[in-house]
Structure formats: C-alpha cells, structure tokens
C-alpha cells in the first residue's frame, strides 16, 4: 500500500490561498468602492469546501488500508536542519488526524456559509473572510503536521487568528482588550509548549523528531523528564484549550463576531489542546501522575466553569462557559487515559457547540445585536427553525440520551469510574446536572415565557436560509454523531474508538456491567434533575434575578479576573513603572544622552568656523590649496 501521497499538503494550503486572495482583494479595494459581498463569500467558501472533499478522500483512503498500517504522509520540503534537529514540513494523516480533519473542515465550511448571512453589510467583510480562512488553514496545519514543530506553527497560527478575529470590531476598546488578553494568555501557555518541545528534543530528539520516531524512542525517557515534558505540554494545552488557570481569555473572546466564536469553540483552537494530549498519548500513557494532574485540572475546570455558566446573563457567555466546562470533561477523559473518549467528545462537541453558537448568532441577529437573555423571551414562535435546532443542540450538550453529547460524556465518565477515579466521576456527574440546568435556563429564558422587550420582539424575525441550513445540518450531526461510537451495552461496536486505536496508546478498562449501568444511570439522573430545576425556575415568567451571597460571587466569576489583575497585571505594571522611573533614566539612557552631549560640545567648538559668508569660505579654500601646493612642492624636491 502506498503511504506517500502528494495531496495532503493541499488541505491546509487551499484555505491559506483563499486567505491570501481575499486579503489581496480587500487591501486593493479598501480605499475605493468595495467589491460585492457575495464575491467575497463565494471565494471564502471554496477553500474550506475543497479541503473538506480532500479530507473525505483521506478518510476513505485510510479506510481502505489494513488497520495496523493506516497512515498517509507527505514530506513537502526540508524546513531547516541544525545539528540533530532535522525538521521537514511534513504532513501525516492517521486515524486521529483524519477524524479531526473531517469534522474541522465540515464544521469550518458550514460556519463560512453561515457567515455570508451573518456578516451581511459589514464593510470589512473581505478582511473577515480572509482571517476566517487563515484560521482554518492554521488549524489544518496543526492537525496535519507530522512533528511537534509543524504542529507549533499551526498552534501559533490559530493563536494569531483568534487575536485578529476577537478584536475584529476594533472600534470598541473592550474588544481590542479582549483580543490582547486572548493573545497574551495564549503566549503564556505557548511558552510551556515550547519548553516541553525543547525538553523532548533534548532527551530523545536525536533519533528523529517526527511522531513515529518519538513514539519509538519514548521508552528511553527517564520518568522525571517524561513528567516534565508532559506537564509543560499540558501548560500549553491549558492556554489553548482554556483550562484552569489560563481559561480567562475564552469568555472574553465573545467580543468577536458570533461565527468566530463558533469557529473558536467548535472546530478550531480550543480543541487543539485535547488533540495535542491525545497525539502525545505515547508519552502520557507512561506517566500516570501527569494523567492524574490533567484529569483533575480538567474536572475542576469543568466544575468551576459550570458554576459560572449558571449565573451569566449574556447568551454567548453562557455558551462560552459551557465550552470551558466541556473542555474540562475532555481533559478529564484524556487524563484518565481514555484518549478515544476525549477525542470523541471533541468530535460530538464540535457539532452541538457550533450549532448552539450559530443558533445564538441567529437570535442575536434577529434581536438586532442584543445579547442579554433577560431582554429576550418567547422567541420560539418567531423563530421556529432556530428554536428546534437549538433545543437539539441543548439536549446534546446537556447529555440527554440519545443525543450526541450523551454518549461521549458517558464514555468519559464511565472510563473515569472504571479506572477507579471515583472522585472525578462524582464531580463529573454533578457537572452534568449543572450543564443541563444552565443550558435549559438559557433555552427557557430566551425562547419560552412572555417577551420581556415587546418592541424588540415585534421586530425580530427568522434568519435567512443561508443561516438556517447550516443550523439544520449541524442539528442532524448533533442528533446522530453519538451513534458512531455506540457502546456495546446499547448493541453498538464503538467504531470511533476502534478507528482511533492505531493512533493512540490506551488500554480499555474492563468493568462489570453494574459499573456501566451505574455510570449511565447517574448521568441520566443528573440530566433529569438539572432540567427539572431549570424548568421550575425559568419556564414561565422568570425575571432577571438580583444576586446576593454565593450567587453574586459566582456571577462575578469568583473575582478571578480581578484576582489575576491584582496578583499579576498590577504588580507587573508597577515594576514596569518603577523601572521606567529609576533604572531607565540612570542606567540604560545615561550613556546614550552622554554621547549626544559629547557631540554637542564638539559641535559648539567647531561652530565658530562656520561664519556663513562666501568670502570667508573662499579664504579657507585658498589657504587650503596653498598649503597643499606647498606640500606638493616640498615632496617634489
């Protein structure tokens, strides 16, 4: 079977070319009459759609291969070679990356199509689509890279694009600050990733730095180094995938246009951390302590974010915290060495989170950019398509059987229980109940009850087809994606787990039927209780609550932003100011000012010769020429 192919590189290249073309047209016309929006929208969708077709081709080609040798690779060119470090711009498609490829390109394409409707009338639409294409291209590089360095290129690319897109509405200071925050917090995580890579190279890089060589040499790592590498890489993952302590950027990222939120939360960016941990499963599998830490950080993030989510009043912030919370589940999954369960949750989450965000976008679009859920209400009659699709997404998110989220979440919780992590499982079940509560709190407040703002209600209308069709496609995905990995207890064969098996190093725990039924029963019970409380409180006539005590504490997100501001940002600023006032003038600036003063003194001394009269300059010339003539006559003699 031929493993070397030449079309892999085109998958990231097509959106990148799209970005370049769109950017070129935008720059060329930004001071003149803008081009037709439809043109931009059409060009923007070509790259992602073609990439999706290629991703399907990759998937089908892999499917036709024998299970143990399922991979395609392409070495495009040698990027650089220094000593032992030989980095090729290489692409690798194995079961893990092919699964990521298919849903990233599918959901990315749908979001592009949706954006044509959502961004209608925006004057910088060319710039928007160029960034969107660049974002997708970077994510595809991240997924397809065959070594950590190429992955890092995509890793940085999505960080850059998130910055560009979060501060897309750059007229507002808050939006720009949110973009800065995302970028800076990501940089902190990136430092961990770079250090982890450096450690890894230092330890076993001499035998090759692509995943196959690393996997083959992983056994020669000492436990200490392996732990350090795993934890440093995980620091990178906490930055990119918004885990404690670096989750603070993701809720602020809501400042960007809604399709961008959908792209960040569903298809690109935040899933990168989970993908990375799964990609390095050959390291994590040998360091149970690192896995333990990953799992606990994940589940605590899930809990904290769920608490925040229960008290938010901005429709997008509710969804943002639900993403942080779900990412916590994914890390709990990969932490307890259930890598396929974590990746499967990434996969199902992509469908229902994209669906919920795009649905929220349709609501915001209909309400003329109102995002406060306490200004909405009763919208289900006005926007039936959005309502039905969003309810499907919410059921999937809340983990209602048989929607997609139920199976993937249950798989994670079951793995935690079966590997003996009872604490993680218990917190996970609690969070599942809270997820159901805050998701349906949002649904009930927005779509049920009486309109709270009659005027906005009267003017609101269903979104156009270009926006509702992607919603419907995603709703089908959110409904059915779970069946791809149906566990044996429901008569399934866990196709996704089997598909991913060659890429991952994992041992499937075997537990009794009782444990399995306990896990499922607890999840369903948590869902039912959560949704029941939400129904009682918010189904009819709920008013905007006044927070006090703990709820006020949670509404203000435990004052974590203020805490970080106090602990890190303000001292940093103070140190900077102190340096500016003391060290800078006396130490670094002094030599420079001294040199400039020296030249001024010399200049003043020589100034007397510059009298400004032509005659005097003529005298200088004559004196000079005479002296030269004298010298010459001397030397002749």
């Amino acid at each position: 079977m031929e493993h070397n192919v030449t079309f892999l590189g085109y998958i990231p290249l097509l959106p990148l070319i799209g970005a370049a073309v769109l950017g070129f047209f935008h720059i060329g016309t930004c001071n003149r009459k803008p081009l037709n929006e439809k043109f931009y929208g059409l060009v923007a969708c070509i790259g992602p759609l073609l990439a999706f077709v290629l991703a399907l081709r990759v998937f089908l080609t892999l499917k036709g291969m024998p299970e143990e040798a399922r991979y395609l690779s392409q070495k495009a060119f040698t990027w650089f070679q220094v000593g032992d470090l030989d980095i090729t711009m290489g692409f690798l498609a194995d079961p893990l990356s092919s699964l990521m490829l298919v849903f990233v390109t599918l959901i990315g394409s749908l979001i592009h199509i949706y954006s044509i409707g959502y961004m209608e009338g925006d004057k910088n639409i060319g710039k928007f689509f160029a960034y969107l294409n660049l974002f997708l291209g970077s994510m595809l590089i991240l997924v397809l890279g065959d070594n950590p360095v190429v992955m890092f290129v995509g890793w940085e690319g999505v960080g850059l694009c998130s910055y560009l897109l979060i501060s897309y509405y750059s007229e507002g200071t808050d939006n720009v600050l949110a973009g800065n925050k995302a970028f800076i917090v990501n940089r902190i995580g990136d430092l961990g990733f770079v250090l982890g890579m450096a450690f890894l190279f230092w330890a076993i890089g001499a035998g090759g730095f692509d995943y196959f060589s690393l996997k083959a040499n992983a056994h020669s790592l000492t436990p200490g180094i392996a732990l350090a590498v795993c934890l440093l890489l995980f620091v990178g993952a906490t930055g990119k995938s918004a885990q404690i302590p670096l989750y603070v950027w993701l809720p602020d990222a809501m400042a960007g246009p809604t399709p961008v939120s959908a792209l960040i939360h569903a298809a690109t960016m935040v899933t990168a951390g989970v993908y990375m941990v799964a990609r390095f499963s050959f390291l994590y599998a040998h360091v149970p302590v690192a896995g333990e830490i990953v799992a606990w950080v994940g589940i605590i993030t899930a809990l904290v974010a769920a608490i925040f989510g229960m008290f938010q009043d901005d429709i997008k912030k509710v969804l943002a915290y639900s993403t942080v919370s779900q990412l916590g589940y994914m890390f709990a999954g990969v932490g307890v060495a259930a890598y396929s369960a974590g990746i499967f949750h990434v996969f199902t989450h992509a469908f229902f989170k994209a669906l919920l965000f795009l649905g929220a976008g349709a609501v915001i679009y209909a309400m003329h950019h109102e995002q406060n859920i306490w200004k909405m209400g009763g919208l289900k009659n006005k926007m039936p398509k959005t309502y039905i699709t969003m309810v499907i997404g919410a059921l999937a998110l809340a983990g209602c059987p048989p929607f997609a989220g139920f199976f993937s979440k249950d798989e994670i919780l079951y793995s935690a229980l079966a590997t003996g992590h009872v604490g993680i499982w218990a917190v996970g079940v609690l969070v599942a109940g809270m997820t159901a509560y805050y998701t349906f709190r949002m649904i009930f407040v927005v779509f049920h009850g009486e309109p709270r703002d009659q005027e906005a209600y009267d003017h609101c209308h269903e979104a156009p087809a270009v926006m509702t069709v992607p919603l419907i496609i995603l709703a089908v995905g959110a409904l059915l994606a779970g069946f791809l990995n149906l566990p044996a207890i429901f008569g399934g064969h866990q196709q996704v787990t089997h598909w991913l098996a060659p890429s991952l190093v994992e041992h499937h725990p075997h537990a009794s039927l009782f444990v399995e039924i306990l896990a499922i029963g607890a999840s369903v019970a948590a869902f039912v209780i959560g949704i029941r409380i939400a129904y009682k409180r918010f189904a009819v006539g709920a008013e905007e609550p006044v927070f006090s005590g703990f709820s006020k504490f949670a509404y203000h997100k435990f004052y974590v932003d203020e805490l970080y501001d106090g602990i890190f940002v303000q001292p940093y600023k103070k140190i900077g100011n102190a340096i500016r006032k003391t060290i800078e003038p006396s130490v670094t600036d002094a030599p420079v000012t001294l040199v400039s003063k020296l030249y001024m003194v010399i200049g003043t001394a020589f100034k007397v010769f510059q009298v400004g009269y032509v005659r005097v300059y003529a005298i200088y010339m004559i004196v000079g020429l005479s002296l030269m003539s004298l010298l010459l006559s001397q030397s002749l003699n």
Binding site: F606, K607, V608, F609, Q610, V611, G612, Y613, V614, R615, Y617, A618, I619, I622
Partner: protein
C-alpha cells in the same frame, strides 16, 4: 622674456584672489573668478610656447569653453539670488552660519 609673461599671469591671479575675497558684490566676485581663469590661460600659453608644443593651447581653449559654460550657469544663479533677496550683497546670503 618668459618671466615677464609669468609675472603678468601671477599678478592677474592675485588680483583675482583679492577680488573674490574682498568684494561683496556677486558680479564683481564673478568677474574676479574670470580674471583668475584668464591668468591660468596665460600661464598655459606661455609654457606652451616655452616647450614648443600645442598642449597648452588646447588646454587654454578648453578652459575658455568651460568658462563660457560656467558664465551661463553663474548668471542664472545670480538671477535666482536676486529674486530671492532683492539684492546682490554676498553678506546677505549667510544661511550656513553655524
């Protein structure tokens, strides 16, 4: 005999130098420069005669041509200077003063 030609040449040259240094009118300065050029021409022709070659003559002709070109340029400059300040005193043009 040669000496007297050269003496005249040196005298002319010195008169030119003194003119350039001491006079303030742009035209007088300009004429003094022409005087110096002609002093040089005289010296060329004298030496040409002394060595009985034609090189000095050729150089003298070239100097004349250059002087003519220079005159054309210099007069244009003088006109611009006059337009600029309305007078032709060289002391008025002292922007280079440090």
């Amino acid at each position: 005999m040669i000496q007297s030609y050269l003496t005249v040449s040196i005298l002319l040259f010195c008169i030119g130098i003194v003119g350039v240094i001491s006079r303030r009118n742009v035209f007088t300065v300009f004429m003094s420069i022409e005087l110096m050029l002609n002093a040089a021409n005289l010296a060329f022709v004298t030496f040409s005669r002394l060595h009985e070659t034609m090189d000095g003559h050729v150089l003298a002709l070239i100097v004349m041509a250059v002087a003519a070109a220079e005159a054309a340029l210099a007069l244009a400059v003088v006109i611009l200077l006059h337009k600029h300040k309305g007078q032709l005193d060289t002391n008025v043009f002292s922007l280079l003063k440090g």
